[in-house]
């Protein structure tokens, strides 16, 4: 159970801290000039960060067990990647991945 006397300080500090992270570069970009290399690196942020969020989320879902314990998720995610590549549609990507997972689980029971 969460101790509420700890909860509210966490909410406030995390809220302020997260806001400052979001504001950081938006605030300073007008005031300082960053090196060209920095700007060229910015373009790889979406690909790198989002991919780093996806892979553990899919493959390491069942924490503490064998790496591929949740293999249905890996297959469903691969299908979703294929659909995303072909259709470029967010809705179809999510729908195909969810349906694939449900079908795989239903078939494998």
């Amino acid at each position: 159970m969460v101790d509420m006397s700890q909860y509210w300080p966490v909410v406030l500090i995390l809220g302020v801290g997260t806001y400052l992270i979001r504001y950081s570069f938006i605030l300073i970009m007008d005031k300082i000039t960053l090196p060209n290399a920095f700007h060229r690196m910015l373009r790889f942020i979406p690909a790198a960060v989002l991919s780093a969020l996806v892979v553990p989320g899919v493959l390491l879902h069942e924490k503490g067990v064998a790496p591929f314990a949740g293999w249905e998720r890996a297959v469903a995610a691969l299908i979703a990647v294929g659909v995303a590549w072909k259709t470029r549609s967010i809705l179809w990507t999510i729908a195909s991945g969810m349906v694939s997972l449900w079908v795989l689980k239903a078939v494998m029971v």
């Binding site: 509420m4 809220g15 300073i28 979406p46 790198a48 960060v49 553990p56 991945g97 969810m98």
Partner: protein, 230 residues
Amino acid sequence: MATHWSTVFAGARDTSPLLVGVIPFGVIWGAVCVGAGVPEWGGFVMSLIVFAGASQLVAVQLMAEQASLAVVIVTALIINARMFMYSASIAPHFKGMHPLKKAALAYPLTDQAYAISITRFNGDTNGLNKGAYYLGSAALMWTAFNSSTLAGAYAGAFLPAGSDLGFAIPLTFIALVIPAVIDRPSILAATVAGAVAYFANSLPYNLGLLTAAISGIVVGYTAERRQNHG
């Protein structure tokens, strides 16, 4: 002003398919809070103040495990450290705006509002009001996440167990990452970041995510330099 409203609307419209992933996430968050002994409105208020679901989930999980205040905050902030990169990436597009406007636009910066906006900004932006577009995306995300948080807190107990709705979250990120993978350097960046994230997952304090992201960015940047220099 009329054109601005249609741009706000366009941002919201382009973001709307993502709600399939955002709403289950908000619901799960609301339900987790109640399950951990946080009052229904408590989880809702945290969503309003922090507005970063992944870090909120981890913070509540750690608090439920009686982790110290410092561990809870440092871990949650490290998860949100990826927003430094979003801030840096989107900042050039907010350049020259009124300082108060920039301060306000920083608050609802999320994975989704960032990814949708940056994809749009990297296309044909002739005459586009970038602030309005981003605002539409962010406002929809904000409304959806906070209202589903409330719904989850009050109705979460009735969710069918094992319906795998949480899988919609990585699927959302897949839908967002594919448009960003446009050439060889960005494919390399995504692949390296994914692989490092997998193997570095056991690093303490969730440092794996940052290590992976930085590896991917450096590899992508290096590959692009090689390409340009023949």
